[in-house]
């Protein structure tokens, strides 16, 4: 039985044994492989982070002709205010149209908490369908319905015949999983269960034979390029450029794709992940159900990783020779272009912090630019990253620290005071600690900026060169304000709150 036959997808701590509280070193993680995934602990002191609802909404808010209907207390999903700028800019660069996303909330109140919110949800779906006439309504459950027992799948099933939009129940009860990457699974789960049915039979007339053949030929070299919102249009264009120069057609999916077009993913010749952390759940399903094979190994961030990524794809289609020519030309051109930046980068110490795969691939990229990696903080750890740790360990000059933490900037502040890096790259919302310590910083993910492929290497180098040329903003901050940690904390062992003997989450 497939996970997709269940209403709710499994959480990643169960499916992948992913963990979030672990301290280790680069060589330690490279050697350990899967063994370290069994002893996830809990911290006795924690700082706030995000939950799966946030990345899930980042995808859902981007879908044209979709309305997001949050079924929870009023505040859940207000994160959409910042995601809306991505929706606006993403729409503009793709279609020249700037439009706000549409997100609604049933705003469950004290009465609903006691008497249940299902009837309110039913009415809300019907009214949203009438007011906005969307192709789909994503019914997104937050924590409250998860505790009071509202059945969003039951409501969707009951109301579906009364509305013209396709209803997509999405389970984002934040307290149920500590691995927020489960977000990608819950969205893909909703897509897989509701939007991949063939509508109508294809019965081509005899005279259409040629165009049918052409379509088939096109499909035989069409690849799904998965993007769950961690790359912007500029990165999509770079990967498209590389894949098209191998003679491939590209179907980018699911962000900014119309829900009616999702069916195309089932007809492609190959699914290509740009980040294994994001896509494993869905590419597996496409293979199992629609015989679409997949690649889920490298992330095209950095020179070597981009080339490895391309080689794997080319091998599937027997385009190795073309790929080698392309790679050789691209690498040579890029390496020459990078020369002007190298002197400033050479030997500078860098600390990297982001989602696991992104952090590791970016660390490798920074090594390629001449930086020395002195520490990594990954948001979680699962087995997809084993190969990446091995790649980094092979080139590491010392056995630097790796902190597995769902944000937790207090550990990072402690580490940074010790390591004193010359540069810090952190996720959105993740640079303020380093910035207040006066370290030059750069955001490791922003959908308006280029990061992926060969162009991404160049553009990132260009931006880092700019940051390092005048880090006065951060330096001024550090001279005048302080982080909220006590002096004693900086003296303590950075991982002293990781209690590996603590309760396991599913106890």
């Amino acid at each position: 039985m497939s996970h997709f036959d269940n209403k709710i997808p499994p959480k990643r701590e169960d499916r992948l044994k992913a963990c979030i509280a672990h301290s280790d070193s680069i060589c330690g993680l490279a050697k350990k492989g899967k063994n370290c995934l069994t002893d996830d602990g809990e911290r006795g002191f924690t700082q706030g982070s995000i939950c799966l609802l946030l990345p899930a909404l980042a995808i859902l808010n981007s879908l044209p002709d979709n309305v997001v209907l949050l079924h929870s207390a009023l505040g859940c999903g207000s994160c959409s205010h910042s995601q809306n700028s991505n929706v606006r800019m993403g729409g503009n660069v793709r279609w020249g149209k700037v439009k706000d996303g549409v997100w609604l909330s049933t705003a469950l109140d004290e009465t609903d908490v006691i008497s249940g919110g299902e009837s309110k949800l039913e009415q809300a779906i019907i009214e949203a369908d009438r007011r906005y006439r969307p192709a789909t309504i994503a019914i997104v459950a937050g924590c409250v319905p998860g505790i009071i027992g509202d059945d969003i799948d039951g409501v969707a099933l009951k109301i579906q015949p009364q509305v013209s939009a396709t209803l997509l129940p999405v389970h984002c009860e934040g307290f149920k999983t500590k691995i927020w990457a489960t977000a990608y699974d819950v969205v893909y789960h909703a897509i897989g269960r509701n939007l991949l049915q063939e509508r109508g039979l294809l019965e081509p007339k005899p005279e259409d034979e040629l165009s049918v053949l052409r379509d088939q030929e096109k499909l035989s070299r069409t690849v799904n390029l998965m993007n769950v919102s961690s790359m912007g249009r500029v990165d999509e264009l770079e990967l498209e450029r590389l894949l098209m120069s191998l003679g491939l057609e590209v179907n980018i999916f699911p962000v900014f794709s119309h829900p009616d077009s999702f069916i195309k993913a089932t007809r492609a010749a190959l699914s290509i992940s740009s980040c294994p952390t994001h896509d494993d759940y869905f590419v597996g399903y496409l293979q199992e159900r629609f015989n679409v094979p997949f690649l889920l190994k490298h992330m095209p961030v950095g020179i070597d990783n981009t080339s490895l990524w391309l080689r794997d794809i080319a091998a599937v289609f027997g385009f190795q020779e073309q790929a080698e020519r392309l790679i050789a030309a691209e690498e040579a051109e890029l390496k020459t272009a990078l020369e002007e930046f190298r002197p400033l980068f050479q030997g500078k110490k860098v600390f990297v912090s982001a989602g696991e795969f992104r952090a590791l691939a970016t660390a490798r990229l920074l090594q390629e630019l001449g930086f020395e990696v002195v520490g990594i903080r990954s948001f979680h750890h699962d087995s997809f990253a084993e190969g990446e740790y091995e790649k980094l360990a092979a080139e590491a000059t010392n056995d630097y620290a790796v902190d597995i933490a769902n944000v937790q900037p207090f550990e990072e502040a402690n580490l940074l005071k010790r390591l004193k890096p010359d540069l810090f790259l952190g996720h959105a919302n993740g640079n303020m600690t380093a910035a207040k310590l006066g370290i030059p910083t750069h955001v490791i993910y922003n959908t308006g900026l280029a990061y992926l492929g060969y162009r991404g290497v160049f553009e990132l180098a260009r931006r880092l060169h700019r940051q390092l040329n005048n880090p006065a903003y951060n330096r001024n901050l550090a001279g005048n304000i302080s982080l909220p940690y006590r002096d004693e904390w900086y003296g303590a062992e950075p991982f002293s709150y990781i209690n590996t003997r603590g309760r396991a989450v599913n106890e």
Binding site: F45, A73, S78
Partner: protein, 447 residues
Amino acid sequence: MSEHFIERARYMCSLGGAVGTVTALPNAIPILHAASGCAGNFAWTQNGGSALQVGGYCGSLTVPSSNVQENEVVFGGEERLREQIQNTLKVIEGDLYIVVTGCVPEIIGDDIFSVVNDFRREGAPVIGAVTGGFRGNSYWGYDLVLQALIKDYLEKDLPKVTGKVNLWGVVPYMDPFWRGNLEGARHLLELLGLEVNSFFTPADSLESIRRAGEAELNVVISDVYGQGAVKLFSDQHGTPSITLPLPVGVSASEEFLRVVGEALGLESLRVEAVISREKKQYYQILEPLTDCWNDLDLQRYAVVVGDANYAVALTRFLADDLGWLPVLTVCTDQLQEDEQRALAGRVENLSSGFTTNLVFETDGSQVQGHLNRVWQPSQGQKYYNAFSPAFVVGSSFERELAQQLGAPHLSVSFPVANRAVLDRSYTGFRGGLRLAEDLISAVVAGR
């Protein structure tokens, strides 16, 4: 307005407002007893709505949070909270720690006060506020934090000190101009020689907040925000209060000074002297605009969309100070009937004699429909009295409406995604000049 949902709510839940409020207090640390995602949700919201202000000394993803999970849902979260408070006191440097709660611990029945009081008995500066998201919006969260301060932090039974006042009604981060607006209102009160406790400005301290009971008057510059707290304050400290609209611009500031002066029994000659001096300066500064004001024909029709504070304050500024024609005022808050009546009273008798149409509508997409009801749309006739030239003052969501109307636009009320605000102020006399600059700059941007 839908009865079943809110479209793109222009506020967070009460926990979100509470966290923003605590992080804006001097040296205060919020401790969230909530699911892990609440903090990130607020950080992302402020990123998108609070004109680029996120965090502060201990905000954003730095906030301590118990990050309750299924385990706590099953077995209760009080012990987890105890552990979290204990360790927060060890790791985080602050002078006041305020536990604020999210939906999950509240629904499962955690009693935070049984935990918080254990720490208080040992002398730790910890208080608590019950702010579960389903209780209301972020404006109410602000109120709940003030209530917690009044109940458990302020010194009781202090003698009243003549000339001391408390200032409330501007909600940190939910008003993107909160710093400047508080300072602008504070400055007005200081013009009368008063000593002001405004809680959230750099001039405030926890020591002065502790002594807020000394005030002889509470001044609330909002018909809605902080009203619960000020009632509690009156009960506990016997301090009278007055409610005034957010004093944006010259007419509102003039009224503000008079009403406060009267409430405190200040000598009216002194108050009038202050008013006439400030007005003189205001018009001296405004004067050189007059040529271009006329030559460029800068009078506009306007639509105002805003929260309970801004909807009425901006309307009044446009009509009475600037001589514009705000024909539609949309308040996007969910309000009780008495609150709606209070706001309606604010725009009923404008000194300019101009009358707006005030509607209460949470959903921005419906504003165009309301405008069509107050201003007859074109029937394609040759001579049509168009809604033009027009201006839209609202949040960044009103850009779509402005585009449809072919009108310039200024984001003032939450969410403000397209402006960077640090301490810009629209309150007071000078605040009116700032607002005039920003509005007219938007009109002439293409010049």
